[in-house]
Amino acid sequence: MDLGLSEEQEMLKKSARDFLQRECPKKLVRQLDESDEGYSSELWRKMAELGWMGLAFPEEYGGSGRNFLDLAILLEEMGYNIVPSPFFSTVVLAGLTILAAGSEEQKMEFLPKIASGEMILSFALTEPTASYDAASVKTKAVARNGEYVIKGTKLFVLNANVADYILCVARTRKTKDPEDGITVFLVDARSHGLKCTLLKTLARDKQCEVVFDDVTVLEKSIVGKRDEGWPIVKAILQKAAVAKCAEMVGGAQAALDMAVNYAKERVQFGRPIGSFQAIQHYCANMAMDVGGSRFVTYKAAWRVSEGLPAALDAAIAKAWVGEAYGRVTLLAHQIFGAIGFTMDHDIHLYYRQAKAAEIIFGGADFHRAIVARELGL
């Protein structure tokens, strides 16, 4: 058993922390939150130069051949700093899907361009039912003259507004089994009939409504096999849940650090408020949530990385970390008092992130149901 990071991972963590502190200050975070694009092309280019986008891709596709655990550690630092960008949708949702299920041609076409920062991708799964089950995929793709025509509405699609390509999960056949007959398509975001509308959200992340109004795609744009797309989606949802946990662990650590530092400096009744037990115990509770979250997340990430079955560990992590991050940011707010309620303060950025992260890829109840199933209850 070995529960520590390797030297390489330590270096990745530290260099990411330093880089983001320097290149992505909260002033920029706020600007990007307010912008329509939601990312800085300059920062994006620098992240690509550091090899972040291709971190978990093999070298033959322009990556650095590191693994999913390394990616999780990088995401932890991105969560710590908050980095508004299409990184998650491009690299985790789309990149890892293409890597796992794409044809050789697709991998050669897309992965090097993702790695180099030239291409931004998005992943369109959820629809107005806003759930992650196969039956909720109602968007249809109908075969016509060797092409497919996609029609339907996708909702809560991350970063589709700036994407070059969108992975669209559509129904190509209707059978009794909702998991049968789903196909994943790579769709050019400039396609005729595709309309993207930005949603105003709590975390100011760039979620979109994407309407596919008879969008035509070629047969070769199918990722994996026709009608057999659901296992691909399920696999990426599991990875995405774990990757999101890593991001949340970083964010929770940041909220804890901020609150502890403030509690040491803020003086009331002639002493730092951090000397009061009420505040100390809040901080201890936060520390407990951060510590607990980190190691269930590492365990799940390690299992994904090793290619071991990870359904149970991923669900445990997402169910727990999602709520824990919320608890941590709420206590941080309590410690900051009124100043934390101002727009100028940074803590609300994390409070917003926490809820968005808890919701996406299935909330705590959704994942507890999976845990129950995995335990054979």
């Binding site: 201890a284 510590g291 560990d313 169910a319 209850l377």
Partner: protein, 414 residues
């Protein structure tokens, strides 16, 4: 600050994260498992009413002799009674991870696996005792011949332990002790007090305390068992009236007891009955699988499933704290914050587990083991009471939070 995360100096080459046991650890785990299967009476795990992290039924371990006596002797022969000790002192000389594996397996079967003498007294004597003291005490402890009880708390010194008033005055080659101790778990079935006494009343509280080993049979020692809410005699109040103790029983130097006491805390850090959480949870799950309400088994009912899953998730997190603490100790890192998190998290989980068990079992949860209608040997009923002690003993939850905040996060004391 990097909480629970890797600290500076932890850089390791050619190593990678791995959540599985290596071949050696796996082999050891199997050896422990085989030992338990061969040596522990088959009905032990059923009969034993131990609740995870509770203190209420601990003394029964000792009372359930001769079964315990025999099992303890076999443990001693293996060198596992003193599992954390180096080989030169009759211990097993195992890594912390191996000790953690041992305690995990033993607690899963609710097996007795050491007490104050083996877990606290022995290791402290090893570090700070004179050669003479080591020779006198360590072999007897390792062989399981003597048991200690922890004589720390007093009626007016609970969480504020350094304010103890029990006084020891030097008289020639002896100390003469006067005062009162309380909450001494299993004192009535042990042989010696591992005792903190005040030897310098003029010094600051932390600097006037000494550690001394006191024979229970010394004239002037009166032990009165107290009945706890589980209906057991587990702890005691103990009176010391001009009790004469040879000075050679003082551990290390006079007035350094507080320091030794703090160091001794390190030895207890992975002595968390982590396996018993999983065991008891599995039993409650089994109950939920077999019990029908309104024509449907409980384990298929959504709200019950949700409660059970909440516990399952937290047991997994407790295990992570547990293995992480052992892993840090093996690398020479001091798991101050992690150890407190482990203690705090598991004890609070003890109460959640009890409450969930009661809710799953409904009316049947309130039946004591003697009822013909009782399920799970009435252990959840008893555990619902016993879990109260988990958050109080060995440093209350509040004290743990203080430690995490001040020692771990660096928050100011005032």
């Amino acid at each position: 600050m990097s909480l629970c995360g890797p600290d500076v100096g932890e850089f390791r080459e050619d190593e990678a994260m791995d959540f599985t046991f290596n071949a050696q650890e796996e082999a050891f785990r199997k050896e422990v498992e085989d030992f338990i299967n061969n040596e522990l009476p088959a009905d032990w795990v059923e009969k034993n009413t131990y609740w995870p992290a509770g203190y209420g039924t601990l003394a029964q371990f000792e009372e359930l002799s001769p079964q315990v006596e025999q099992f303890t002797r076999r443990l001693a022969e293996k060198g596992w009674l003193a599992i954390s000790w180096p080989k030169e002192y009759g211990g097993a000389g195992l890594s912390h991870t191996e000790q953690a594996i041992f305690h995990e397996r033993m607690s899963y079967y609710r097996a007795p696996a050491g007490e104050v003498a083996t877990l606290i007294g022995g290791p402290t004597v090893m570090l700070f005792g004179s050669e003479e003291m080591k020779k006198e005490w360590l072999p007897k402890i390792a062989r399981g011949e003597i048991r200690f009880w922890l004589a720390y708390s007093e009626p007016n010194a609970g969480s504020d332990l350094s304010s103890i008033q029990t006084r020891a005055i030097e008289d020639g080659d002896d100390l003469i002790i006067n005062g009162q101790k309380i909450w001494g778990t299993a004192a009535h079935v042990s042989h010696y007090a591992w005792m903190a006494v005040r030897t310098d009343p003029m010094a600051p509280p932390h600097k006037g305390i000494s550690l001394v080993i006191v024979d229970n049979t010394s004239p002037g020692v009166t032990i009165r068992p107290l009945m706890n809410i589980c209906g057991s005699y587990s702890f005691n109040e103990v009176f010391f009236d001009n009790v004469r103790v040879p000075k050679k029983n003082v551990v290390g130097e006079m007035n350094k007891g507080w320091y030794y006491l703090m160091v001794a805390l390190d030895f207890e850090r992975i002595v968390i009955p982590i396996g018993s959480f999983r065991r008891t949870f599995e039993e409650i799950v089994q109950y939920a699988r077999e019990t029908k309400h309104n024509g449907q088994v409980l384990s298929r009912q959504l709200l019950i499933r949700n409660k059970l899953v909440n516990i399952a998730i937290q047991i997994e997190i407790a295990y992570m704290f547990f293995w992480r603490t052992a892993w840090m100790l093996d690398r020479g890192l001091v798991p101050n914050i992690e150890a407190s998190l482990l203690k705090l998290f598991t004890t609070e989980l003890s109460q959640k587990l009890a409450n969930t068990g009661m809710q799953v079992m409904g009316h049947y949860g309130q039946l004591e083991s003697t009822s013909k209608w009782a399920s799970l040997q009435g252990r959840v009923c008893l555990g619902y009471l016993d879990c109260i002690s988990a958050l109080v003993g060995a440093g209350t939850s509040e004290i743990q939070r203080n430690i995490i905040a001040m020692r771990g996060l660096g928050l100011p004391p005032k």
